[in-house]
Amino acid sequence: MTVMIDTGNYIAAKAAVMAKPEVVAAYPITPQTTLVEGIANYVGTGEFKGEYICVESEHSAMSACIGASAAGSRTFTGTSSHGLLLMHEMLHWAALARLPIVMCNINRVVGPGWNIWTDENDSISQRDTGWIQFYCSSNQEIFDTVIQSFKLAENKDVVLPVMISYNAFILSHTSMPVEIPDQSVVDDFLGDYEPKWKLDVNNPITFGNIIDPLSYYKVRRAMQDAQDHAKALIPQIAKEWKKKSGFYHGDLLELYNCDNADYILLSMGAIGAESKVAIDELQKEGMNIGLARVRTFRPFPTEEILKLSKNADLIIIDRNISVGLEGALFTEVKAALYGKSEAKVHGFIAGLGGKDVTYNDIKTICKKAMTGKAKGYEWYGLTEV
């Protein structure tokens, strides 16, 4: 085991290379660039022995990953914002084809206006593609989640692609110490990749052929079942990883001081980490509040959130907006509770366009909700303070 002090992107590159994918196909985009640059560097040092395909666009990057994965290779890529959006068609394709591709997405604002800072609208827009979605809040979590994602994606009851999102610059370009296990630990944990199906000249099949309505209906249902399996497997895989590496990042929700809390704050990504400071300070001020950071947006932790709402009101901070409605996490939390919980749910939009969300901002939001001053749903911080 060694400690590596590096940025989220270089840590993700390290994790990806240690998982030994046979193919990486990627196209650079700020703020993902240093991730693929990191992998390219491992090609130079000889540590990455797979095929590194430089393509002409993100649509091609995902298409190349689909081809490689369909041929039976472990496959990795990374992108961000407009790159992710350009992949959109092929994201559906990868999931419907049941190809266990692992991809990092660095959450970046969608233009116009041109903006390279963070919010979650890029990955929230891919919610319905069938990909499993993780949101990380530290570089250690990025490392552990990338490794675990290969195991999850390739599990015979899952066989779905996995997207690991983390915030532009706040994580992608910020150095933190990360404990890196020995290569043998990763090898032992992941094992050799055995594809569930593959294109093979010695066993010829065709893929993506015409399919009747009922058969297609069954394909969709199988994807849903696979996401349900993933929900149960995510903590199991994390426990197995902890046994081998000593680290645990694996619950669908990361809970912080939730026992007996009257209020629970829910958010995703780096805001979830920042919130811990706010929770500590609010508790010192005598307020009974906890934090549930949502790690998996798909599969959505419906039962876990419902359980939290039995004794606490919920405060949601969304760094995204489904224009015409409200924040995506807010919508989904309310859906999880519908008809089964009396809890009040307060929704806040914050930090769009990469606007800073400090622990003081989070405290202000929580206090507003806890003192009964919050509306059902509102935008925080639209004016200069």
Binding site: V159, P204, I205, T206, F207, N209, S215, Y216, A222
Partner: protein, 90 residues
């Protein structure tokens, strides 16, 4: 043949999955064994695997499934395959 235990859109090779597609044919390829030089271009290019390769590297045509596209006749450099309208004899 190995079948995969996964619910997605995979299809396995099978003769006549769409029924006897030979009934779709308007033009029919007719093979003249005397002209054949055994180059097998027709066998390579037939998109429906309806050209059967014989032991002596000449060919026969599977009229049950040949749709009459005419690619074999186009590719044959010695005009050993010619297209005739169905029901018409030259």
């Amino acid at each position: 043949m190995k079948k995969y235990d996964v619910v997605t859109t995979i299809s396995y090779p099978k003769t006549g999955a769409m029924g006897k597609t030979g009934s779709w044919r308007v033009f029919k390829p007719v093979f003249d064994k005397e002209k054949c030089v055994k180059c097998l271009r027709c066998w390579i290019f037939c998109p429906e695997a309806s050209i059967k390769r014989e032991k002596d590297d000449t060919i026969s045509i599977d009229y049950d499934y040949c749709k009459g596209c005419g690619i074999c006749a186009q590719e044959c450099k010695v005009k050993a395959i010619t297209m005739e309208r169905e029901g018409e004899k030259k």
